[in-house]
């Protein structure tokens, strides 16, 4: 008799449904409870929280088309492309010639600038030395060469004739 009753209880344990009272159902089966009047208070605090969050929420800015991310990326990419193209074109046109020109220009600039710092006396002394070394010595050398040439031609002429003239000239 006891066994039959136990079996009936077993079979009926989960038979009762929710019966539309969720909290009672949980209390009856799981032993879980809630504070009194919880759902009324909870509803108010949820509504309060939503109000708070709405108040603190920053309104979304209206985006103008040129402020859109896609547009910005496109503009940035175009700028980078134009810049790199310019640099590439410049570097491809620069030849050795222009490099030399640049060097010469800088050399001339240096000479001109340095000349401003040279004293007049020093410049005169430099000019004199250059004149002696370059012009006078060169002139003397070329004169001597002329003499040698004349003398050689005279010796040649003399040897072709009788040889007396040259001997007289040397003596």
């Amino acid at each position: 008799m006891e066994k039959t009753s136990e079996n009936n209880n077993k079979n009926n344990f989960l038979k009762e449904g929710m019966q539309n009272d969720v909290s009672k159902h949980h209390k009856d089966y799981l032993g879980t409870t809630i504070p009194e009047g919880y759902f009324v208070k909870s509803k108010l605090s949820i509504l309060e929280k939503i109000k708070e969050e709405e108040g603190t929420e920053v309104p979304k800015k209206k985006k103008i088309f040129w402020m859109h991310a896609n547009f910005k990326y496109a503009v940035a990419a175009s700028l980078v492309f134009i810049l790199s193209l310019t640099i590439w074109l410049q570097s491809s046109n620069t030849s050795n010639e222009t490099q030399v020109q640049v060097e010469l220009l800088s050399f001339n600039d240096d000479v001109l600038i340095n000349s401003l710092f040279v004293e007049d006396d020093e410049l005169e002394a430099y000019a004199k030395t250059t004149l002696i070394n370059e012009v006078v010595i060169k002139a003397e050398l070329s004169e001597q060469k002329m003499d040698d040439l004349i003398l050689d031609s005279m010796i040649l002429d003399d040897s072709l004739s009788d040889g007396k003239f040259i001997e007289t000239l040397i003596l």
Partner: protein, 179 residues
């Protein structure tokens, strides 16, 4: 048009949204609370998650495409929010939920808002000993009163599998419970 569909329509209308939201709370607050409570164990946690769930519902109602029922959609949000809280509290992912549930009973029995008798404690222990999938299916069907179709949408499991799982669990519980 169903009652839920009508409610959704009002919720999506800015002029009616606040009133409709109050109505939504009246209908679903209690049911969602108990769904959450079983997942996060204590009343304190359930209260936090319930608030976050409804705030999220309020903010994202315009994104609700009505592919599922309103109840199922909200239930899923509540489920995700619960998992988020558990992860935050335990610093563990959803994959480790078995470990989370091992301490579930200790936390539950110590909770201020648990006054279960011997049978209720026993049922809690039996449920806690079930496989994760069995546990969820049983709770959703028996305590949250969801249809197999709704559970199928939430857990992405076929209705036939759900039915067989549910009836297996019922059998296990009735075998183990001795009144």
């Amino acid at each position: 048009m169903s009652k839920d569909a009508e409610l959704v329509k009002k919720l999506k209308d800015p002029t009616l949204k606040d009133k409709a939201f109050s109505e939504l709370l009246d209908v679903y607050q209690e049911r969602l609370y108990w769904h959450i409570r079983k997942l996060v164990t204590t009343h304190e946690n359930a209260d936090d998650v319930l608030q976050n769930t409804f705030v999220r519902v309020y903010k994202s109602i315009h994104k609700f495409e009505e592919k599922s029922t309103l109840h199922t959609w909200m239930y899923r949000i509540a489920y995700n929010e619960s998992m988020r809280l558990l992860e935050k509290n335990n610093k563990k992912s959803f994959d480790d939920i078995d470990e989370i549930s091992s301490s579930h009973l200790e936390v539950l029995f110590e909770d201020e808002y648990f006054d279960g008798n011997e049978i209720q404690r026993k049922l809690q222990q039996i449920i806690d000993g079930l496989k994760e999938k069995q546990k969820r299916v049983f709770q959703m069907k028996y305590f949250d009163d969801l249809s197999f179709r709704q559970i199928s949408e939430i857990l992405s499991i076929s209705e036939s599998t759900l039915k067989s799982t549910y009836y297996t669990v019922v059998k296990i519980i009735e075998e183990k419970i001795v009144i």
